[in-house]
Amino acid sequence: MNILFAVLLLGGLALLAGIVLAIASRVFHIEGDPMMERIDAVLPQTQCGQCGYPGCKPYATAVASGEVDVNKCVPGGERAMLAIADLMGVPPKEVEEEAAPPMLAYIREDECIGCTLCIKACPVDAIIGAPKQYHTVVESHCTGCTLCVEPCPVDCIDMLGKPEVLEEWTWSAPGKSRLVIEDSAEGETHVRAA
């Protein structure tokens, strides 16, 4: 009898608690997944697909739902990985592939046959041109994702490194190597990694 009473009491209390929680879950219900948006915001938006997802947003969604590791974004490199790991509250994981130096696509226009295949492949609409006309890459929009190289039937797209200009030069960390152009006392010029 005593036992029965104890069980009933405990069960009743548990039921009450359950009801309270059920109501609370209604009241505090949240729409959408702000985490996905936050992750998407730290991705480089190259839409390159190197992560195995068809773009940055799909990858962000996958990371937010926990179905994929935080280290799959190659162009984002370590920084994006650390930012995502930080957001997700998981330990950082090394990015396996080394990001290539920033590149831009160039179309050798005299070889272009105007097939528009690269235009369709470009995820950020950075290639302009019409059918049977030369196409050209808008440099300021190109993310260097290389997705246009594969579809080109005549292989007239080159990925070239971004030229370094004085205006975009920044200091490297103390003691870290950096290309230094130097004049020797004899008047020769050397370029070397210091």
């Binding site: 200091w171 490297s172 103390p174 950096r178 230094v180 070397r192 210091a194």
Partner: protein
Amino acid sequence: MSLLISSPHAHGGDSIRANMLSVIIALLPAAGVSVYLFGWLALFLIVLCMVGCMLSEWVCLKMMGRPLSRLGDGSAALTGLLLALTLPAAVPWWMALIGCVAAIVLAKQVYGGLGHNPFNPALAARVVLLISFPLHMTAWLVPMHAPVFAAVLPLNLYDFSQCWNLFWLGPEAIGKGLDAITMASPLGHVKTEWSRGIGAVEALRNYDYSYLDAFLGREAGSLGETSALALLLGGVYLLARHTISWHIPVSFIVTVYVLAALFNAVNPDHFAPPLFHVLAGGLMLGAFFMATDPVSSPVTPRGQIVFGIGCGLLTWSIRTFGGYPEGVMFSILLMNCAVPLIDHYLRPRVYGK
């Protein structure tokens, strides 16, 4: 070799080594007083601690594969000296060595060496010793030249062979018990008397306490803490050399003084007078040499003042209400814990903001 090098291309010439050296120099008067009071024992202990700390540092650097030249920055030697000055003269040599290892390995090198230790190594080691060996760490050798106790002193500390035996083999070797050659410090005495329901003023009277002796250092205590005069000299030297700033010592000492004065004014029989608090125990040593340890104290002036006030508050509270007679060491360590937060929240005002 041509690395990218940024301005400035000039330097004021300050170095870690110079900083450490000037602290060691500033500690010389206090060390001198300790030798004057405790004879060869003090010298043995100081040398042992300095050597012990430097050896520990050397082993750590070697094991961690860091440049052994770091040993030359003088920080380990300074830690050894500071540790020695906080120890009672009658402490067994192996205990002092344990302290050295605790200071260098546990409190410093584990964190990556100089500059990264959150706690003052010497103090951390002393707390380790105090908690582990409470008896030995509160047994104060009767000093030479303390006028009141000169007659009581059962041994001559200026006698090399007697001290040598005492140092390595303990009091039994010279046929004395620890109790026979040690006594209570003024702070300890006040605490014990309190527990018997006797007020501080009465307690000091029956201890034959004298402010002048406390100022000059002719009283029981750890090696380097007894003489306020010697420590003050060193402190002024450091201030003059800009090795430390005034913020911590002044706010620390003033806080203790003000608190003690307030409570003493309310109940003069029960609470010890402010000057007693300022001269007693390790306050001077702590305020000028421990709390100002750059690595484990705040960097901003405002933070340093808060740090000093916190130290003072805790010191006085622990001395007055706590279980331990002396609170300087605990209070500095406790405030060391708060340094990152103090540094984070008490930054200077930025120009134009």
